[in-house]
């Protein structure tokens, strides 16, 4: 698992950023076998064509309501490939949230975040406690922390579903630990 405290500059997106925007069907889905890196270049092409080229490793994505609404396409993979460290949003679609956590991209629901931060400002996010600090303005806000005994928290802390799944398989005696490590 990466650091539990992330620090980075903010990219701000509005309400209802759909998976069709992050994983456009015609460019990505219709071309199976496309690499994650190439697919990521089409992320947000319809709403913000230059974004994929501008985003930097460690940046933080802030969304509005119902972030990642729409299909079950894995929106989190391109976002992760582009270097985003954590996603905060007013609300996140159920499927989108599950995909984000499973991908190993920390995602926190944070009511009030759109008013709390402007694009380009710097945030520090504790993904365990949910504390969000605006380092540019020196203010703090609380995101909804995942209950620590919940499966999504365990999956997030394992660094994504893949690793969590292997741990479960080892515990159940379905695979040997060395298989899990590969």
């Amino acid at each position: 698992m990466a650091d539990t405290v992330c620090e980075g500059n903010v990219w701000k997106f509005g309400d209802k950023i759909s998976t069709d925007l992050m994983v456009p069907g015609a460019y990505v889905l219709a071309r199976r076998g496309i690499t994650d890196e190439e697919a990521a270049q089409y992320c947000m092409r319809a709403n913000r064509p230059d974004w994929a080229a501008q985003v930097q490793r460690g940046d933080i994505l802030v969304g509005g309501v119902n972030f990642a609404c729409g299909s079950s396409r894995n929106w989190a993979r391109p976002i992760q490939v582009l270097g985003v460290s954590v996603v905060l949003a007013e609300s996140i679609s159920r499927i989108g949230l599950r995909n984000g956590i499973n991908t190993g991209l920390p995602c926190l629901v944070c009511p009030g975040i759109s008013k709390f931060v402007e694009e380009g400002e710097r945030l520090q996010v504790d993904i365990v406690s949910g504390e969000v600090r605006n380092l540019t303005r020196g203010a703090a806000i609380q995101a909804q922390a995942w209950p620590q005994d919940s499966p999504p928290f365990q999956i997030m802390m394992a660094g994504g579903f893949e690793r969590y799944f292997r741990q479960r398989l080892v515990e159940a005696g379905k695979i040997k630990p060395q298989v899990a490590a590969t």
Binding site: K16, G70, S71, N99, F165, L169, I175
Partner: protein, 415 residues
């Protein structure tokens, strides 16, 4: 304390007497899809928990348009054989998963289903807790279980009597326009009331299908004789319908009076942009493409109403209309009933059953600046092809009328 339908089904599958919203629980799952088989094979796991309850089809790019897809489908066939999945559906016996799997007995009232497509809420029409799980569905393949957060339940009461030529699609576009496309976020939405009972199963199915368009985890209807009629002969197991307790706790109850509903159309950008067709008609929005298809609205009665409107008429010279039945079974029924012939005579492209145009995949992708009126469920930018194209959502009747008129039209003017 009383429980909602979702709470009862989740509790039963968690081996508990009751569950409360907000709890995280592990549940036995009754059925799923086969996306994770490849991963199991790579890990050296040679069997799934219950091969009879795994369902597989290639519907998004059917039949394969490229070598890559062809190779993937080849892999699917091999894995289905290896893991003894009898519910693998070859082209010609195929369909869009939400329709096809239901036709083949995936859903029985009171069950819990999770699989890898967002419109898995569709199964809610059968009084089932049915929802999406993506990469974590392999937990079901191995252990037959998955984690859930018990959702808050919301009740939507559909009152009054649906006017003639208004259908389930108009209802859900109205509900989404009034309550917003996130009113069901993380929640179980239960639909009930006189109009819920009045609607055909196919119309309710549209509403469960678009459960995910209002954010819902489940979009559930009660089981009645219409549900049972569809299920008759399709199931090899007994079931018990689940009803909410009279004192069940709902976070919110939304009441709708639908007696004065008019056909609805969602303007481009969001399924919540629904407006009455009579109002939109005056805007004279020209369409380049009309699409009658998808898991939302391509069942037999959808093709029938379109055929009735188009009989003896032709598609507008500046429009192409694409028709794709929800499954091969629907295709055959519509063929035998003569509806496909009427549609072809009117100048429609009658395709086989495919997701293709719905998600901008193939067999009818939109170009820059084009406008499509579609019976499907999503109109986000980029959904049906070019990010510069626009999509309007409507019922099959409104789609057919608009194809004839060349612009958004009121089906009641054609019937």
């Amino acid at each position: 304390m009383g429980m909602t339908i979702a709470e009862k089904i989740l509790a039963a599958h968690a081996g508990r007497n009751e569950v409360k919203p907000g709890e995280y629980i592990w549940c036995k799952v009754d059925a799923t899809g086969g996306f994770g088989l490849r991963q199991l094979e790579a890990l050296g796991i040679d069997e799934v928990w219950n091969p009879d309850r795994v369902y597989m089809v290639e519907d998004h790019q059917a039949p394969p348009p490229t070598i890559e897809v062809a190779n993937q489908v080849k892999e699917m066939r091999r894995l289905a054989k290896k893991y003894k999945i009898k519910n693998f559906f070859e082209f010609g016996r195929h369909g869009i998963l939400h329709q096809l799997f239901a036709e083949n007995g995936m859903f029985a009232p009171g069950e819990l289903v999770a699989m890898g497509d967002s419109h898995s809420t569709s199964g809610g029409v059968f009084n089932v807790c049915s929802t999406n799980s993506a990469m974590d569905a392999v937990l079901i393949l191995v252990f037959g279980e998955l984690w859930f957060r018990v959702p808050e339940s919301v009740k939507v009461v559909l009152n009054g009597r649906l006017p003639e030529w208004c259908v389930g699609k108009d209802v859900i576009l109205k509900v989404a326009a009034e309550l917003g496309t996130d009113f069901g976020l993380y929640k179980s939405v239960e639909y009930t009331g006189p109009v819920a009972r009045q609607m055909t199963l196919a119309q309710r199915w549209t509403i469960s299908n678009m459960g995910v368009e209002v954010g819902a985890k489940f979009a559930i209807f009660e089981c009645d004789e219409k549900t049972e009629e569809f299920l008759r002969g399709r199931l090899d197991r007994a079931y018990t319908p689940v009803f909410a307790d009279p004192d069940a706790q709902y976070e919110t109850v939304h009441q709708f009076d639908l007696s004065n509903l008019t056909p609805m159309v969602a303007l481009p950008g969001d399924p919540g942009n629904g407006r009455p067709v009579p109002e939109v008609k005056d805007m004279h929005i020209k369409v380049d493409q009309a699409f009658l298809g998808s898991c939302t609205n391509a069942r037999l009665e959808d093709l029938e109403v379109a055929a009735r409107i188009m009989k003896g008429r032709t598609v507008h010279p500046d429009v192409r209309m694409l028709v794709s039945p929800a499954s091969q079974a629907v295709y055959r029924d519509a063929l035998k009933a003569g509806w496909l012939e009427v549609l072809a005579d009117a100048g429609c492209v009658v395709e086989h059953s495919t997701c293709g145009p719905c998600y901008g995949g193939h067999l009818g992708v939109l170009g820059d600046g084009e406008v499509c009126i579609s019976s499907s469920n999503r109109n986000f930018p980029g959904r049906m092809g070019s990010p510069l194209a626009q999509v309007l959502l409507a019922s099959p009747a409104t789609v057919a009328a608009s194809a004839i008129a060349g612009e958004v039209a009121d089906p009641r003017d054609y019937l």
